[in-house]
Symmetry: C2
Subunit: 426 residues, 2 copies
């Protein structure tokens, strides 16, 4: 993978062989540079990354040979990266104040691994809380947050999503499947996990561009009401419903999920939970309960984490305002108050890494177009978001959970999970 910003990078003037026993070695004014290097590696851990400062000073890891180089163009950026590496790197990368020579995804992977389970710093915790507050997913806050991301324009997403515009983790029956096959397989997998029967009613909370709602109606004969507050997405979805002759069976409603009424057999939400305040998960559970009661069932599909903690601050600041990746413990706050029985949890993390690899390839192939549409800052910021997400799913700082659940009065239909895998190739 070639970084499109690479042509801007300054070549390092010197190459040094790191001395043993040092955290990092450097050239230039020896003492200060050594200290700077140590501080940087203290902040990001012993990652195999070489840093080149102002085109002249090189700071290299000692423990391992570097897999890539980060060029930092000014001292201020370096100092910020020491204090708050994730946020400062994101900002500097988007601004063009750092450049990367090497495979960005692999380098981010290495940093995520080396940062490991280090406790969050106090400054990060404080700014994270502040961000939670000003990006709060109130009825109004959600509209603004969703508008900022999903209303960027359908033409932008068409550049790198599949034609059905499925903007969530696909399901690759094999890693060689195409993105189109894998997205369709995902839609079908969800329908089978939900054991949909013709004539049933489904409500979808956060329907994106409508692919799942349309698929369910077309292939499983159910009636769907799909909620979404992204105006652009709703317009696209309604057009698709008309074109495919499904308008009588799928209703796309431009409204908040909190206004979902009662009276459905099944509740489904794919990639929407990340936009719900985790302190309000019990309320979300009440919405599910109002929708499907104790006899219904549902499926939640979301980017999660293996522990409870705030989502990347840079991603929230620049890409997904108000977003949160819940742990399973948090997700249980949705389901347990009403005694919903968890039937199945599947972690599809490798599938999201693969999905994002497809997206990033397509995105890079369209990078000139993206620059034309939104400028170079935007092109770089979104590239970092996609690359960082791949790294997150590969290393496990991010997980992808699919939870199937049933109301306390519903008897499960399927005896084992074997039927899910009976249809080869689907």
């Amino acid at each position: 993978m070639i970084d499109p910003a690479l042509h801007l990078a300054t070549k390092p003037t010197d190459m040094i062989i790191p001395a043993k026993g040092q955290t990092a070695s450097s050239v230039g004014s020896p003492r200060i540079e050594k200290w700077l290097g140590e501080q940087l590696f203290k902040a990001i851990g012993p990652a195999p990354i070489r840093f080149v400062l102002r085109g002249e000073t090189e700071i290299s890891p000692t423990a391992s040979s570097p897999i890539g180089t980060v060029f930092i163009h000014d001292n201020q950026t370096l100092v910020k990266m020491m204090a708050d590496p994730e946020m400062a790197f994101g900002e500097a990368y988007a601004d063009g104040r750092v450049h990367v020579n090497g495979d960005l995804v692999r380098m981010l992977e290495a940093v995520y691994q080396s940062m490991g389970a280090a406790p969050e710093r106090r400054y990060a915790r404080l700014t994270s809380k502040w961000m939670n507050w000003w990006q709060a997913n109130t009825l109004r806050g959600s509209r603004s947050n969703v508008h900022r991301h999903y209303d960027l324009g359908n033409d932008f997403y068409k550049l790198w999503l599949d034609p059905q515009m499925v903007y969530t983790c696909a399901y690759f029956a094999s890693p060689q499947a195409t993105l189109e096959e894998a997205q369709e397989a995902k839609l079908d997998y969800i329908c089978r996990k939900l054991e949909l029967r013709s004539g049933e009613t489904v409500v979808e909370a956060g329907c994106g561009w409508g692919a799942l709602a349309l698929y369910m109606a077309q292939h499983y004969g159910v009636k769907v009401k799909a909620f979404n507050i992204s105006h652009e997405q709703i317009l696209f979805a309604r057009r698709a419903a008309t074109e495919r002759g499904l308008s009588d069976r799928v209703e796309f409603i431009e409204d908040d999920y909190r206004n979902i009424p009662e009276g459905f057999d099944t509740f489904v939400s794919i990639g929407m939970l990340e936009h719900v305040d985790p302190r309000r998960f019990a309320d979300f559970g009440e919405i599910i309960h109002r929708a499907v009661g104790d006899t219904g069932r549902g499926l939640l599909h979301f980017v999660g984490r293996s522990h409870t903690g705030d989502f990347s601050r840079w991603i929230r600041k620049r890409i997904f305002p108000g977003a949160h990746a819940p742990s399973l413990a948090e997700a249980m706050n949705i389901l347990q108050p009403r005694h919903y029985a968890v039937l199945d949890v599947e972690n599809l993390r490798p599938h999201y890494a693969r999905t994002l690899e497809h997206w990033l390839d397509r995105y890079d192939a369209s990078s000139a177009k993206v620059v034309e549409m939104y400028g170079p800052w935007f092109q770089r910021a979104w590239r970092l978001y996609l690359a960082g997400s791949i790294a997150g799913f590969r290393t496990g700082t991010l997980q992808l959970f699919q939870i199937t659940f049933a109301g306390s009065k519903r008897q499960t239909a399927s005896w084992t999970r074997a039927p899910l895998y009976a249809q080869a190739g689907r």
Copy 2:
């Protein structure tokens, strides 16, 4: 299903047709009896059960025709059942102070359903807390608790378990599978979920009579250290290892799981978590982490619940001292502090109902033998425990969770779950 205690039951003297609009109707001294009936149905909800008091007064549900009759032989038992239905019924059933005419499992199911999600009463909450305290699973407490249940004598368990003595939920590829087939299928299913490879090391926390440890070593070529504090079970397991020529690959250690050392690839615990204090789940997570670190993986299999709450007090008092059925939220307290990634959660609840049906059939077939071994009180108490467990898994007051997890530095081997279901009939 015929209740073996039935022959003691007094026939009701009168049959009445319930009057409409009443919660319950009764014959006898009309006012008091009506009040008694109302109180009883208030305590258990509108269950379709007929009660016959002192062989003469009948209290019937009005909303539905009864599916069975409970004969209550004295006023004191009736009053206790009003105040604390679950505990009082358990005690009275074991004592022979009530008798049941009808299918005990179905009747218990009906009561569990009618009691629904009613909040726990204050008295129950207090006595439950008290019980948590005096049955605490300290190192010493666990020995006493485990001894009381698992050291009843292997001859007793042989009466109703399969020959391999697997005393946990089986896996029925189809509901028609035999118990023997289903237990073997479960052992294999766990090995495949863990993706065991020849030469790896496994530690088992709470190994019962050793069936899984032996199966893993024999069929997957792994080395197993299996911990258990039940003396009777360890003796049985060691004998089986010798007989099957597996002593060099399986070591049965009579020690507490808290003393599991480091240095394993895989951690497995089947039906043991129910004996761990949920307030100590983080410590349990540390034991797992010591055993397999960040690169290992594991599987937890346990009787759980769809919400967090104490286990049946009667079961704890008479059958399983110190037992607790954790919710998934509680279970996450084991895995999340060390960032273990949940890969898979499967709810095998219908399989445990089926397993228990097999056990109860065999138990009932051996009831004379059980009476001979431990007396009629014991025979009735254990019958209620088995029947109540079937009802619990059928209605969903109990769940059976299998959680597969991986350390934060382990990459998962399997791309999808399809290989788990590729070998038909296993």
